[in-house]
Symmetry: C2
């Protein structure tokens, strides 16, 4: 195991490892120590003489990897026994049909809150399975905000309420705002009693404390905060895992995976193994007095703070896309005064050793994705680069 590279100086952003700061929206960067462990284990895991990718998914080595991945995931969120953890495939996008297919009868509605591109895709794909309701949206302002609770017109007979807790493209996130102040804690829609909440948590899962018991089903593509592309983690309550809204092929039923430890057939062994390493890395942030997710939240607020301060301190040179109280800790979206300067920013940043900063075409400008594995040094260095860029080009 290596330790993290030392924080680089402002003028030398490339750590000695030869690796650069990768602000990609996903797949995102992984912790250095996780990568070093992978390098050992693909050759020969635990002295077995066989690499992790080559072990039978029914053998003892993978049994242990899988059991620990389940256990560690549960430990992080103190997940009670009436919830299953599943490792599925097809990306979070596959959940767009799996959720309504399993949970929503054709003529029962489900409530969707559309706060971004992926939330809209979720709604669109759910229509294949009958009635759906878009009960609130932020489309009117190019998804720069999160609708207020009072704007959400829930149906009391809905099969579920679906929302996306962090909008990767637009850089907004659901936060509890108390007396006009952003607490950076998770805000959850106040669905009517008995209506389960379904959340696409792909881009902010385990970036701060989460209480899964408030949800019926949560899903997250692994390639942002949990591991590498190739598996999607689903947390599902017992009664929903066995719900049969319609007949489905076996491999499209949540229960098939819940019953058989996510391996009714050969699962994505490597992707699950990597999640397992990341779960252990998350747990290591905990101390005797503080829960690992409290520590990570504090770190993520500080990390995002460096870059938001660079935006707010630029005397109007940089403009953020998200309204302040909806600002994401994970994906920070901002623009220069002109598209030409945006291009120059990305080019100069690339030369300086920052990668993946070009924004999505839906917002233009830049996006800095700073998932759990992005070290604070990278955020500080980016903030400093931004300040210098604004000074030189303002």
């Amino acid at each position: 195991m290596t330790t993290f590279a030392a924080a680089p100086s402002a003028s030398a952003t490339k750590p000695a490892s030869g690796r650069i700061f990768n602000f990609s929206a996903g797949p995102g960067c992984l912790p250095d120590e996780v990568l070093q462990q992978i390098r050992e284990d693909v050759w020969n895991i635990g002295g077995s003489g066989i690499g992790i990718l080559e072990h039978s998914h029914r053998g003892k080595v993978f049994d242990k990897v899988l059991a620990e991945a389940f256990d560690d995931f549960r430990k992080i969120s103190n997940l009670p026994k009436n919830y299953h953890v599943l490792f599925l495939t097809g990306g979070a996008t596959a959940q767009n049909y799996m959720v309504p297919a399993n949970l929503k009868p054709q003529d029962q509605t489900a409530d969707y809150i559309t706060t971004g591109y992926w939330a809209e895709k979720s709604l669109e794909q759910a229509k294949f399975y009958g009635t759906v309701s878009e009960i609130a949206t932020s489309k009117d302002k190019n998804h720069s905000y999160i609708p207020a609770e009072s704007a959400c017109k829930y149906n009391s007979n809905a099969a579920y309420v679906h929302y996306c807790s962090n909008n990767t493209i637009y850089g907004t996130e659901w936060h509890d705002v108390v007396n006009g102040q952003n607490t950076w804690n998770q805000r959850i829609p106040q669905a009517p009693a008995g209506v389960p909440i379904v959340c696409d948590m792909s881009s902010d899962i385990y970036s701060r404390p989460v209480d899964f018991t408030k949800f019926g089903l949560v899903y997250a593509g692994a390639q942002k905060n949990l591991g590498a592309a190739g598996t999607t983690v689903v947390v599902i309550r017992d009664d929903l895992a066995t719900k049969k809204a319609r007949e489905l092929p076996l491999m499209l039923q949540y229960n098939t995976f819940a019953k058989d430890e996510s391996r009714p057939n050969t699962p994505p062994v490597g992707a699950i193994y990597i999640c397992g390493l990341v779960f252990k890395w998350i747990l290591k942030h905990g101390t005797a007095n503080r829960h690992c997710l409290d520590v990570l939240q504090e770190l993520n607020i500080r990390k995002a703070g460096h870059v938001y301060a660079a935006i707010d301190g630029s005397k109007g040179f940089f403009k953020g896309h998200a309204e302040p109280n909806a600002r994401s800790m994970m994906n920070l979206t901002f623009r220069c005064p002109t598209p030409e300067l945006d291009d120059k920013f990305c080019k100069d940043a690339g030369t300086a050793g920052f990668d993946g900063l070009k924004g999505h075409r839906a917002t233009g400008g830049m996006r800095a994705s700073m998932y759990n594995a992005m070290p604070e040094a990278g955020c500080k260095a980016l903030a400093q680069f931004m300040a210098e860029f604004a000074r030189k080009n303002g």
Copy 2:
């Protein structure tokens, strides 16, 4: 890149690398040089400063990885332009519903030839989409043979004929048998004109020459001959990629992946990357005068030959499960005179450095899986171990 470990002596089966001979049925062993490349690239691929698992699936580095994977796969089989190559997820098992869902209207039959466990599962799952026909089966003799062409009662109006070219559990494979002699070349069912052939080629794809133009659709889980668990390669003819047997969610349609280079959403980046390395490794077997798959076939015949010779030369101590002309080159199934000796065999083999030899409960006994990446030295060493075991325990 390292080169292969030197062939071990008969009494020392563990190569100097610390790695042992892994006869697992899948996930199976990967070439040493592929693993070494992975170890480099997960840290920093091509000097980009970012590991392969952390690159955006829309960025230049993955663009190149993906383009080369497609190109190299096509080169290996000289695949014509009217076929698509897709990287999907969900394992070959997901094809059990995707094939009929996309290709078979509810009231049109499809013909299934059931020569093993997975072929039976394919048939069973297809029933969800209406009429199907089991036109031949080897169930009467515990799947120890491949039905003769004359036993296959094709329906001329079938949507397709489905078969599995190699039966991992039973150790049988479809071979052309000419004048009673096994040619070890691929036998393909003689479906009526116009009826596409669909083949589950998971456990013998690219172990010998293959002409995909004889097929409408071929699928293969990557974890045996193509890479690691986490992606399924599908080869599909143009007209079938756009066939709409029924309305389906976008992510269950082949055409969604055919249109968008297998990345309508985040694909399993790592699993595709590993396939790409294995494709290059396969191509390297070619010489100026010989096609890579001819070379691999010759090697695989020789590799299997060592172990089959150990069975046949054991004076009845070992009994093969498969009938001689249906013997698989990839999965070799055999038994000792008693279940107790089977257990002893697996235990002693483990001590000697051979892993993954325990057979499936459907056949009992042993199974030696010898995919492309298993070096001939491993097969020779196993054959010698078998001879010694038979001598000591016979």
